[in-house]
């Protein structure tokens, strides 16, 4: 049961890979798909491990990813308000 | 709006041009200044350093003129009126920030008490060699306003005018004194505060949500907002759009630079600030500015005593150049005589506007002292032949 998730604005991503490298729980991977500018944005490969710590967001130089926690640890389909 | 009486030293004084300039700045509402010591301008800020704290202001002596000329603009964007003061060598260092003030439309005053150059030149002796630098000194295209006082009284009166024009047009105004005027002591009458008109900052009239920092008004001048007021101003030395955001393409460059020119060009009538006398039937007109205009006046009297028809045209505002005045005058006279304490700078503009319709006689002088009236007289006589 994941504690959080990430929001990705793929079009802002420049594919540096910081978020993938420094995610403490190895949640992310660069996608094989391109964004409009030809970069590979990240996507979640281990979503259940995400703690929503937002370290990925802190590292992202392009404000393209943001981690958030689910309220009270509940997984929410309604959308978390981080 | 009138001057704040708390800043105005109303009365009759016997002070030099530097001191009068300081009093003019205070009367105009400047309570902040940044500068770096240099002869012959330092007396202005020495006096300001003593006077400003009494009215809640301060003078900061920066590490150089580069710093001074940008610190003053920080003061302006904090909501204050501010100026800096220097002489030739320091003025050269300030050029970068005259351009910055021009593109960011920062209202401020640069006082240059001119001395002999190039380089260190003659620190304690007068010249007028910075006139073209005042017009063209910073890179790129821009227009500024330059005023030339010829007495301590005018150092007071025109300093106020310089601040008022800076605020009205949102441009850096060059206050082109010279060592002679700066160090000359004469009677200066400072009127009561309610007799002194002061142009207030043209502050944003719209709330932040509707306001664009560089959206021109009907006179092409935008309103201004300051740091700390919630407007989230964005001020950059890059070519920018109406919001102030960098926008670097030929079209935005054309829009911005054209407007920077046009806001001054449109006001040509208002900025034609001259003193004219005896132009109607003159054979020769002496065109001069600053201290040279006083020496020229004596030469004019000497020539009239000899029966010559000589007119006087004194440029109080040299930039923008009063093109129309010269264009109208040139076909009516035999010659225009242009004495300057330089090897011929403003005379180039006179020649351009006279465009071959009359003789233009330059009376150059490298500075160090003023012309002898006889030198100007000789040129008048040559022109009258």
């Amino acid at each position: 049961m994941p504690k959080g998730s990430v929001a990705i604005t793929a079009e802002r991503c420049k594919g540096c890979g910081f978020c993938v490298e420094f995610c403490p729980t190895h949640v992310l991977e660069l996608a094989s798909a391109f964004n409009a500018k030809g970069y590979h944005p990240p996507h979640m490969i281990n979503a259940e491990k995400c703690s929503g710590c937002n370290l990925c967001g802190m590292y992202c130089p392009d404000f393209a990813i943001f981690g958030y926690r689910f309220p009270d640890g509940k997984q929410s389909e309604k959308g978390g308000d981080a | 709006m009138h001057a704040d009486p708390r800043c105005v030293l109303t009365g009759t004084h016997f002070i030099n041009g530097d001191a009068a300039c300081c009093e003019g700045a205070l009367a105009a509402g400047a309570r902040f200044a940044a500068g770096y010591p240099i002869t012959p301008s330092t007396e202005i800020v020495e006096r300001f350093a003593a006077r400003a704290p009494k009215v809640g202001g301060l003078f900061i002596q920066m590490e150089d003129e580069l710093a001074s000329s940008i610190a003053l603009q920080g003061m302006v964007w904090a909501g204050q009126k501010s100026f800096t003061v220097t002489s030739g060598p320091g003025y050269s260092l300030m050029m970068e920030h005259i351009g910055f003030a021009a593109i960011t439309e920062t209202p401020c005053v640069f006082v240059d008490v001119q001395r002999g150059g190039p380089s260190t030149g003659l620190p304690t002796l007068p010249a007028q060699g910075d006139m073209m630098q005042a017009r063209f000194g910073s890179h790129g295209d821009y227009l500024t306003i330059a005023l030339c006082p010829n007495s301590p009284q005018e150092c007071f009166d025109l300093t106020i005018k310089a601040f008022n024009l800076a605020e009205k047009f949102r441009v850096p105004v060059m206050f082109m004194m010279d060592e002679c005027v700066g160090h000359m002591t004469e009677k200066v009458v400072i009127p009561a505060a309610d007799q002194i008109e002061v142009q207030p900052r043209r502050h944003a009239s719209k709330p932040p949500s509707e306001f664009k920092l560089f959206e021109p008004g009907p006179d092409l001048v935008p309103e201004m907002a300051h740091a700390g007021e919630g407007y989230k101003v964005y001020v950059t030395g890059l070519t920018h759009d109406k919001r102030g955001y960098p926008l670097m393409n030929p079209q935005s460059q054309r829009e911005l630079v054209t407007r920077l020119f046009d806001k001054i060009r449109r006001a040509a009538d208002e900025l034609t600030i001259i003193e004219a006398e005896g132009l109607d039937d003159a054979d020769v007109v002496v065109v001069s500015y600053g201290i040279t205009s006083r020496v020229a006046q004596r030469a004019i009297q000497m020539a009239r005593d000899k029966g010559l028809k000589v007119g006087k045209l004194r440029l109080i505002c040299v930039w923008p150049f009063p093109e129309k005045v010269i264009r109208d005058l040139a076909p009516k006279v035999k010659a225009l005589v242009v004495p300057e304490l330089n090897m011929g700078q403003v005379v180039l503009e006179v020649e351009r506007c006279a465009s071959g319709q009359c003789r233009v006689i330059s009376v150059p002088h490298p500075g160090g002292t003023v012309h002898k009236p006889a030198e100007i007289l000789a040129a008048i006589e040559r022109g009258a032949r």
Binding site: - | P40, T124, T185, E186, K187, R294, V295, Q301, T369, P373
Partner: protein, 198 residues
């Protein structure tokens, strides 16, 4: 009526202040016009110092003094340098203990005063310039006594006011007494009536 005046000496004698006081007297207290300029050397003390004053009943156009009507010399160097520029019929005032009158120009009137000694007697050598102002006022009559007293009063700090006014009067009285005797020297010229010339 336009008069060119030069006051010269060395730095520290109060040369500039003396010219300032006279200019102030003319421009503020007599309703005339005065323009003062000064020469700067790099030295603050001990170097040559000179101030020029043009007083007139009309606005002054040309700010500098080229051939003074009145020259005040408080040092030998000042005398050597500036006395040759004097106008014919001009008045030369000297600090007589400090200036030796070698090669005196022709057609001028000379008046001397031991201003420094008087100042020392008054207790402060630094007021020699105001002694000189008093002497200048009496000898040249180009400015009124009252105007000069008013100018001295507002040019010096409160705590030195009395000392300076005493110094002024000392110079002034010495000048009046000397006028009765006439100029020290008049070389190669007819005696010139002071009133007519000044």
């Amino acid at each position: 009526m336009l008069k060119e005046i030069r006051i010269a000496g060395f730095g520290g004698q109060g040369v500039i202040l003396s010219a300032h006081i006279l200019g102030r007297a003319a421009a503020l207290h007599e309703g005339g016009f005065a323009t003062m300029t000064q020469n700067y050397g790099p030295e603050a003390r001990g170097g040559a110092a000179s101030a020029a004053l043009v007083i007139s009943d009309q606005p002054v156009l040309f700010p500098y003094v080229s051939s003074p009507d009145i020259l005040v010399c408080m040092s030998q160097e000042a005398f050597t340098r500036f006395s040759p520029e004097m106008k014919d019929g001009g008045v030369l005032i000297v600090e007589e203990d400090l200036v030796r009158l070698d090669n005196l120009p022709k057609h001028i009137q000379v008046y001397g005063i031991p201003a420094t000694r008087f100042a020392e007697e008054l207790g402060k050598k630094m007021v020699l310039n105001v002694v000189m102002v008093g002497f200048f006022c009496a000898i040249t009559k180009s400015l009124s006594h009252d105007a000069c007293v008013a100018a001295v009063t507002d040019s010096v700090p409160e705590r030195f006011r009395k000392l300076n006014l005493d110094a002024f009067e000392r110079g002034y009285r010495y000048g009046l007494d000397l006028l009765v005797k006439g100029p020290m020297k008049e070389e190669n010229g007819d005696a010139i009536a002071l009133e007519a010339e000044l």
